[in-house]
Each structure stands twice: as C-alpha cells, then as structure tokens.
C-alpha cells in the first residue's frame, strides 16, 4: 500500500534573512532508506523538518520550492497540513512519548482519525508494537505510563506511534543519537525491517550508522546538497572532494 516516495525540487528555507537550506533538489524512493549526513548546522535537520512542514510551527521561517508526495505539493498553501502530516510520520532525536499510557500513546492518533472501535484499536496497538519490536516487553503493562519505559523502549514506542496512523513516509531526526549502543542497534534493526513497507528518510551524525542502514546517502554542507548517491558508492568512492573529506573525518 505505501508505495509513495517524495520528490523535492529547489527547496530553500529561510530563518528570517538567513538561508539555511539552499535550493535543494532530491528525491526519496519508496521502500528505501535515505540518509542525510553532514556537519552540524549544515541544514539537514531543517530540510527534514520542512518535508512535513513542521517548520511552520516556529515563527519566522519561510520556505520556497516544491515538495511532491504523490500528486500533491506539500508547500502549496492550500494544502491541508493536518491531513498531510498524517501521511508523513516523524521520529525525533530524544524520545518524546506523550504523558499517557503506552496503549494511549499508540491509540491516540488512530482514534483521532476516526477509528473508535475498541477491538480495532486493540489490533492496531498490538500490530504497531509488534512491528516496533516492543510487544513482548510491554504487553503486560500496556496501561502503565509510557514515561516509565527505558530510553530505547521509549524511542521504539515513538516509532510504533508514528506507524500506527499508517503513514507513507517516515522522517527520523537522529533517532538513535541519545541512546546506548544496544538500543541503537535495536533501532537500526527496526529501520531495516520498516523499510520493507515505508519510505524512510533519516538524519544522522553517525557515518557508520548511515552506512549500515541506508540505501542512498545525501551529503549536506553549508545548506547545500553537495552530493547524493547510493550509499555504497558514497562511502567508497565519492565524486566530490568535500564529501570525501567529511567521510574520511578530515573535518566536521
């Protein structure tokens, strides 16, 4: 079902006068993981956040260019942002479960989108938690507070929460950078699993992680997209000098 990718054309993002993202064109294919890498402040997070217009919530941000998901331009002012966001899931750097029970964290979205049937909701909760590899750990305490989970579990809960509303694309902003190595590898396994169904865009600082999980990689530097290619090629034989320097650790 979720076979949609995204196409970005000439996307620029301004914080007031400052151009944080400069005319980036990039496309994300379905059932693939695309990693966005680059030094801090290169604009990759801003780029990611503009994909579901999350930057709207911050004052003073202006976005130009086109972002296509199916036949809809995300940046079109007439687009219903609420409906749009339902199709684009998002996971943050720090786990941010709602201050509710584990069950409510998952069921909250679907119920809002019209699924009132208790049985159906139960199914969605179980299914989402299973996909996030969290079911076995939480099935006995679904109605306990989500805040009592460990950091890694919370992050997986957040992923489960975002897939519960059946998005087409999942955006991940450094999803494992606040976690320990064990939790990190669990998240990475999960990403590999999820890519079978979703188009995933992940921002990461960790080059090994990018190499491990992604199919394609895009390198951002100073707000510009320097290079994008298959991950294997990027890490072995980049065509731009800046990419090579960054990957081999000469700066950043």
């Amino acid at each position: 079902m979720a076979t949609t990718g995204m196409k970005v054309k000439d996307l620029s993002v301004f914080y007031g006068e400052k151009e944080a993202v400069k005319k980036v064109s990039l496309s994300f294919s379905p059932k693939q993981v695309t990693a966005l890498i680059g030094p801090s402040g290169c604009g990759k997070s801003t780029f990611l956040r503009s994909l579901n217009r999350m930057n709207d919530t911050i004052g003073g941000v202006k976005t130009t260019g086109e972002i296509w998901i199916d036949d809809v331009n995300v940046n079109d002012p007439s687009v219903d942002v609420v409906e749009l966001r339902q199709q684009i899931g998002m996971v943050w750097q720090r786990p941010n479960p709602f201050h509710k029970s584990i069950y409510e964290n998952i069921a909250f979205g679907p119920r809002y989108h019209g699924i009132k049937n208790k049985k159906k909701l139960d199914e969605i909760v179980e299914d989402s938690l299973r996909r996030a590899a969290l079911w076995n750990e939480t099935k006995d305490r679904l109605h306990n507070s989500a805040l009592a989970l460990s950091g890694g579990q919370q992050q997986r809960l957040c992923i489960a929460r975002s897939i519960a509303v059946k998005p087409k694309v999942i955006l991940m902003d450094e999803p494992a950078s606040a976690l320990d190595p064990v939790s990190t590898s669990k998240i990475e396994e999960l990403i590999a699993e999820l890519k079978k169904e979703y188009c995933i865009v992940i921002v990461t600082h960790n080059m090994q992680q990018a190499a491990r999980v992604s199919d394609r990689t895009a390198f951002f530097y100073m707000g510009k997209l320097i290079e994008t290619d298959d991950t294997d090629k990027m890490f072995t034989n980049p065509s731009e000098k800046e990419t090579d320097d960054y990957i081999s650790g000469r700066f950043g």
Binding site: T4, I69, D71, S78, D80, E83, Q87, H113, G114
Partner: protein, 308 residues
Amino acid sequence: MEQSAVKGQKTNSKSAFMKPHIREEWVGRVYTFVCILVLIATILAIVYFVASKGLSTFITNGVNIGDLLTGLKWDPEGEPAVFGALPFIFGSFSTSLLAALIAAPLGCCAAIFMTQIMPGAGRRFMQPVIELLAGIPSVVYGFVGLSVIVPMLRAIFPGQGIGILAGSLVLAVMILPTITSIATDALAALPGGLKEGSFALGATRWQTIYRIVLPTTLPALLTGVVLGMARAFGEALAVQMVIGNAPHIPRSLFESASTLTSAITLSMGNTISGTAHNNALWSLALILLTMTFIFVFIVRVLERRNHR
C-alpha cells in the same frame, strides 16, 4: 479537495462537508480569539475609563497638569481648591522603594538559601512558607501592621509610629513572595555546569555565589525587585491603615505621610462623581496607571537584557 486522491483513510469521506478537524480547529481558534478579545476589551475599557475621568481634571476643571504633578499643597475642599499631588507621588515612591530595599536582600538571601545552600529542605519548607505570605489578604496585613508594627515603632523611635517606615515594613513583607519566587526561579534555572566549573577551580561556595551566580542572574533578580515595587506601588488598604495619610512630604520616616493609593482609597467613596475633587482622585489613579506601565516597561527592558 485535492488531498482526497492520496488519502488512505476513510475518515475523510466527509470531505465534501467541512472536515471535522478543520471545523474543530476553527472552533478552537474562534473560542480562544473571543477570550483574547474579552481580555483586550476589558483592558481598553478600564484604561479608557481611568483616562477619561483622570484627564477631565485638566480639561473640565482647568487644573494645570504641571501644577498637579509638582504642587506641594493638596486642599481639595478648600476655597479655591488646590490640587498638588507631589506629596502622594513622593510618598508612593519612597514607601515602595524602601520596601524594595528591605525586601530585596531578604528575598535574595531566601532564594540563595533555597537553591544553593539547602536545596532539599529549603524548597520543601521555605517555599510554602513564602507562598503563604502571598495569600494573606491585605486587610489582615493592615490590621497586623496597625496592631504590631505601629506600636513597636512608636516605642522604639520618636514620633507616632505611623508613617513611611511602618508602611514600608508592611509592604516589604507583602512583596517578599514576589521577589523571592522570581529570584528562586532565576537561580534554579542556572546551568549546573557553571557552578561546578567554579567549584572545580577551588572557589568556595560564597565566592561562587558572589562572583558567578549573582552576576549572571542579576537582571532576573532586578526584574523581581521591580515587579515587587510595582506591587507595593499599587497596594492600598494595608498602607492606608498604617501610613497616616497626611498630604504632606514628611520630615522623617516616622511622620504621617500619604501615597497615591491611600489618597484614592481614603476619599473616593466620600466624594461625588463629577466634582473636581473626585476627578482629581481619578487623576491620581491615572498617574498610578502610568507609573505601573513604566515599571512593567523597566521589567521588559531588564528581561530583554537577560536574554541576550
């Protein structure tokens, strides 16, 4: 809607109608907007009300605005009536300034105690104690001031006990919670690394507080003090009971004086709306309003500096 093509869920089958989430959003926006309109309307009404009444002293009663602000003699029922509000302005400033001078060190010490010296017990015990001070009604403060502070001052110092010092003492206790809670918040918000860095360099706790903590939080502390002063400036009943209310600039801290608020409270009910005396009282209220604006403005400037 163009979206419908990509929609995977049946929730939006109603899209021909108004979508529920748009309707809901609209309801929320209208509701909150109406609330803010009510708030603004209230503010405008009260400002208009005070300004129109307060300005009529100058317009209909022909009092010179300069005379009002700088005049030393207040004889509203005399022939001819004289309206000089300087003693009240002086009284308001001196009482609130003195109150702030008394309360600021106490409040800051309490805040330091609660955050730096005994964070656990301090917050659990001191905080409720100080918030309680904020909850005691001003009538009770005035009553206690009249029954305890005035006789005490009368016994210790020459004079009648009543006066600016008595007013300041009562006010100091009343504004203590404002100053303390703002100072506590500022000190608690200080990044832990800053202090630890100082300790790591071998500085004592006092050196750390004195050289690192206080300078960094100074703007916030000042904000607290100014807000406290603003509250002192506007307080009426408690001050009126202990200050004596003579419309003169007193020669000492223990001589009967008057503030803007005490002059208003004392005579407002006794005068008839529309008379020169009544209008003059509203002019005092207008001065008060302007002063409060200035106080808040100062706070704003301090806060802005704090953010930088």
